[in-house]
Assembly symmetry: C3
Homo-oligomer: 541 residues x 3
């Protein structure tokens, strides 16, 4: 009997997609420039993406359909910004999107009944792989599945990490909870205050774009979004402490199930963890009669994990922040758990892009997790040249802009079954010496993994040539470097940091032949370069 594993969960797919698009669009809606993108340019751009990642399609099978539907809706919706009747346009986009999703959900269901499905691209997880743990008008909390379950190639260190996305709308409070996981929160949009309480201390941080907060395992954490218009958005990295790839939220107070029939009724509320203790025990522990306890821990449940708060409550909860000078002082007292990454000097920077990174050997608060936090910001129509990381595996989540990546991986084939997967693992060494391209389109919410040693290049695409240089269109990615202590980024092209330029003339000749010496001198830029060759049009002409 074959062991049958169904990796895809069966939550109601259309609602999920619907919400995801809505939420992301809501966030985008405060950035009017994206809405100004012309439909024409989208068409052109989409084609150029397809050209860029053409070979990817041979690696992907059924999964790329849902992504295409979502992409299509995204472009369609954005084009409405310049439409004469934006509302009507939007309604049509949604209708088309819903129909497509419905069709795809049916297709997928049929496939699931046929047998197990595996993720066909082992390093790229488009946004629809993010699973909602909470969804409501007030905000959302999405968690990416365990890497070990997403891909049979992601064994090893990365298997012990999980990633998530938390977004809250203005004027909200996220209920307190703790995790059985060490975590790092990175803020990439909005403003708020994050607080966590431990045995004898309370830490409170004003947070904004670029802030990194190291939340220790077991810290009971809550946060507010006290901005009047902007969503507060965070990317989170978790390192579970009990079971390598599982973590749980522990809520002292529970919240209700979504209303039956609502868009999110496929999700569940949660109890208070207090409620599992015997009544006798709780009575003795608190020294109060049980009727009083029941009110606090059981009956008066909140509406959701993220709830509206009054102006007074928000004000009270945004007081007592950490002193203003904390973020300016480089990590030195062993007590600060936050810093602003964008206030650091970028590691690599020129007119085409910026790379910020906080490595664990310099930022003590990241040392015990041996993780670095990076922010990559590539100008439209520019690219980060091919390079590889010497030790670290990077977990990347796109938070703004559009583009694609290309990566050279040792050859693998997509196993059709568990037995085949096992067989391939046995044979892995036999395939040595051949590489395949792994690539993927990038937009908000997409996750990709760059294993150590794998050459990679990331390209930003410009959706509107009239807005060149505008910050909002940059491709922005938050990255976590797993095992990043003493990691180096060896560049394979460009003027500086290019390892090929370190080799002796004779070694270069023996390796590549005569041509290479001249090739290595041509590019004058370093790290970030224009995405199309400067002189190419004239030469081609």
């Amino acid at each position: 009997m074959a062991i049958k594993i169904t990796i895809k969960a069966s939550y109601k797919l259309p609602f999920f997609f619907f919400f995801l698009s809505t939420l992301f669009l809501a966030s985008s809606s405060v950035t009017p420039l994206i809405n100004a993108l012309s439909d024409d340019h989208n068409q052109k751009c989409q084609q150029s993406i397809c050209r860029g990642v053409g070979s990817r399609h041979s690696l992907l099978r059924s999964k790329d359909h849902p992504q295409d539907a979502r992409e299509e809706y995204f472009y369609c919706s954005q084009s409405c910004g310049t439409s004469e009747d934006p509302e009507q346009c939007e309604t049509e986009c949604r209708k088309r999107f819903d129909e497509q999703l419905k069709k795809e959900a049916e297709e997928q269901k049929a496939q699931e009944e046929e047998g197990p499905t595996f993720n066909p691209n082992p390093y790229y997880f488009p946004k629809f792989e993010l699973r909602p743990r909470f969804l409501a008008e007030e905000g959302a909390y999405f968690v990416l599945e365990s890497f070990a379950r997403l891909s049979h190639l992601l064994r090893g260190r990365i298997q012990n990490y999980r990633t998530a996305l938390l977004q809250t709308t203005p004027g909200t409070f996220v209920l307190p909870y703790h995790l059985d996981a060490e975590s790092i929160f990175v803020v990439w949009n909005g403003r708020g205050t994050l607080t966590f309480v431990m045995k004898d201390t309370k830490e409170s941080f004003k947070i904004e774009n670029g802030d990194v907060i190291r939340v220790p395992a077991g810290a009971t954490t809550y946060l507010i979004n006290n901005h009047t218009t902007e969503n507060l958005s965070l990317v989170q990295l978790f390192q579970p402490v009990n079971t390598p790839d599982l973590f749980e939220e522990f809520f002292p107070a529970g919240y209700k199930d979504p209303e039956p029939g609502s868009d999110y009724s496929f999700l569940h509320g949660t109890e208070s963890y207090y409620s599992v203790f015997s009544k006798d025990l709780l009575e003795a522990a608190f020294d109060v009669p049980r009727e009083q306890l029941e009110k606090a821990f059981g009956q008066q449940k909140r509406e959701g994990m993220i709830i509206r708060a009054s102006q007074e409550q928000l004000e009270a909860l945004s007081k007592q922040p950490s002193p203003w000078w904390r973020k300016l002082v480089p990590w030195s007292m062993g007590s600060d758990l936050n810093f602003n990454l964008l206030s650091q000097r970028p590691l690599h920077s020129n007119n085409y892009g910026k790379f910020y990174e906080a490595p664990p050997q310099e930022f003590n608060q990241l040392q015990d997790m041996n993780v670095s936090v990076a922010m990559l910001d590539i100008n439209p129509e520019a690219m980060m040249v091919p390079h590889y990381n010497t030790k670290a595996t990077y977990l990347m989540m796109v938070v703004d802009g559009m583009g694609y990546f290309e990566m050279a991986c040792p050859k693998f084939t997509i196993p059709a079954s568990e037995e085949e997967m096992k067989y391939q693992e046995e044979q892995a060494d036999q395939q040595s010496g051949a590489y395949v391209k792994v690539s993927g389109k990038l937009s908000l919410g997409d996750v990709f993994v760059i294993p150590a040693g794998h050459p990679v290049s990331i390209v930003a695409q410009n959706n509107n040539p009239n807005n060149n240089g505008n910050q909002n269109q940059n491709l922005r990615i938050v990255g976590f470097g797993i095992n990043a202590g003493n990691n180096m980024r060896n560049f394979l092209a460009g003027q500086e940091g290019n390892i090929m330029k370190q080799m002796e003339r004779e070694a270069t000749q023996l390796t590549f032949g005569q041509e290479m010496e001249q090739i290595l001198t041509s590019q004058k830029q370093s790290y970030f370069v224009p995405a199309s060759r400067r002189g190419s049009s004239t030469e081609k002409a």
Copy 2:
């Protein structure tokens, strides 16, 4: 074809139970207070336990029967202390016990033939899960099975640890052996001398209640019990160095199989590891003729792993202990491998209980294992209030007294088969937000695991109200904190250390509603409180 795994070993069950009870009772027999427990109170107490852990039964299936038999025998036997004809009473208790065990062994055998069995409570391992590696009149050595095999939920760090119980009767010597594991020995009863030899050194320690000895991997260790009346009892933690969850004893000299037909004939003796080398090789290595070697390594085997020693031998082996001042000096020279935990200031302490702990960041000898050693001592009818550990997973073994624990765990269901287990692992994330109570009765030899982040409360029960405050009736637990570096204990009730009291008033209101503020001020005690509400009887009346 389904893969069939039988976890339970097939050693002769009744003898094992018989011995275990005998050994533990023997140890208890020097503590007359337990024997003084009245039968009436037992009955009452047993009921209150059942009330306390009532919901547990829905989690347990077949395994709880043997425990009940053992418990019943325990209470029955204790009640004989006040009986008019104690011997006759004891004989009857044993007879009843043997019959029940026989019946249960048959039931279990029948179940095993039906198919695989899994431990239904993934965090609680009653004493009958301890497997004997050696058993005789002179003492016993029990090892708990690998956690990974005991429970599918105990993956992760704890999987790399094992625990054991070693007990020797007065006037005995434990044969030298080394392990392929780092270990920590904790003495909780008796006196003796423990010695280990390494390449160029010999370390010798006088040991007594509360002593902690860090035995390095590969140290050839032997010990004596030179007390005239008391058993010497140790709890051991092992961290295997070769294979994560397996370790072996390596004996330079072997010992015989138990006599055929004896109570322990289901166990085996061991050879000398010297005996596997070729005779030629040994002759050359020792430069003596082989006849002489055979006598030492093969023919003259000892009677058992634990043997009687003469008074002269015991005296000689208890000389040359480490200097008296060693235990007083806080760890600072990097050379001391022992200290007395009970001589430290307790971490939490009041009239209701005491918590001693040696954390790895303060006790250098525990640093490389990143393990803390704890001793919990709760007065009868008191409790340690609900709390959770932020990073550490605690492995707890009860060494005295009676009680129970309650723990809030993310919901799990007991898989009926390996496929189901696999399926559940895949689905694990879907169940997020629901908690179940895990609980268990506690008495000598029971082991339970408290994963990081899981709220837990431990309650001591008083078996004899006339002996209030007597040390012997306290619930005493030896605990090992895995991954304990910088662990914190966040309390969920009580005056001090209570994280709920750290939250701002507004956060408390948003989270729990108005009631909570008042509830948090009621309990004036901290950490340990009476197990029943002080004012409850008056209020109820």
Copy 3:
């Protein structure tokens, strides 16, 4: 349906064996003493080996046949050195060898068709387990399969390491590549220059016998053999950074497949990793037209991974070595990545053998891998006495001489199937207390694993009594100690370092009886002793 796993690869077996023997013999051919071995002595010696490891055969099944064929050929070929017509002798040896291999390959194939095969000796991997990744006239690169796949008992730390053998003939260049693994290279024959390039640095090392180079993960490495007659030979240890037991070579420039029909045509060449990127992307990254790029990265592939270099190229590439004083200074500046192990004071040394070791606590460059590097050099007809390592598991590769080892292991049985293996793992604890001998013949390329705690003895055999004391006949082994920090070697015989001599007289008597005290005083040598008892012949007479 049973899961079927075929561990053996199906590359053309005879060619592989043929090459391996040729290469190793070529290396040996510069050492005329081995060729001078008399046929008679071989016969005698072979018998004594068989006697020594007689009991091993009960552990081995089908796999020992190929080894015997290879061994037979090895002895046969060596005997030709003193033959009247060496060429004719050699031809006959090869013919016999080829026939045997063919027969065995057929046998093995038949067995594989029957069902899965498992390695029957879990700690010994004769040289034919080394898999070629590259083979040519210019040199060879062999990698040992993942331990986890070789043996079900090698779980745990050692599972995360791999080992390899690299040999190049005089006047050659090894193409640059990087690995997704930390590595340690140990030179045991020849001379050359090893260079690696990183982002902003180039490190270049003159290398010779005894040199240890710590190559960081991701360093693009190349090397030359600039000796005129000698092979350059290295043993390599890898610790993969992405997936515990898998690593890949990443070549910036590729090399061709072997000629069809050649001896090595079962192997494959490799592409350049540059070649997987889109042409557009590369054009932009290098800022050169694509025609130029294609020449460098695609069309002008090298002949192989190891290629001939001109005298001028070799000279240029052996310039700029690290300064001469680098190897003399003990590790202190945190920047040196190499040292010469044979220039250190041996840890144990006498007239019968030498043991060199660089432990991680003293050699900073080995600290992050927590690995020690050892070189064992035993004189012919001498032995290293029985001992065990307290914490470290040693991975040993024979690089010169002949001999055998004996090791005491906790009892295991060879599983016939995966289900049986699983069942045995469950039962592992039940077998406690019995030991079996694991042993194996040793010659160039054989690998064996000594787990921590396992008593072991290693014996060197003399193939030519007329050449006593000649360095070339010593049994030389390169060892890597996994988890070696603070490891100790506890000796079980000999004058010094013998833990049995640390025990009190009374403990020795209680443990072994009266005989042992006298036995322990007889041997006057320490660590290394003659392999046969000095007085034995006179006593026997």
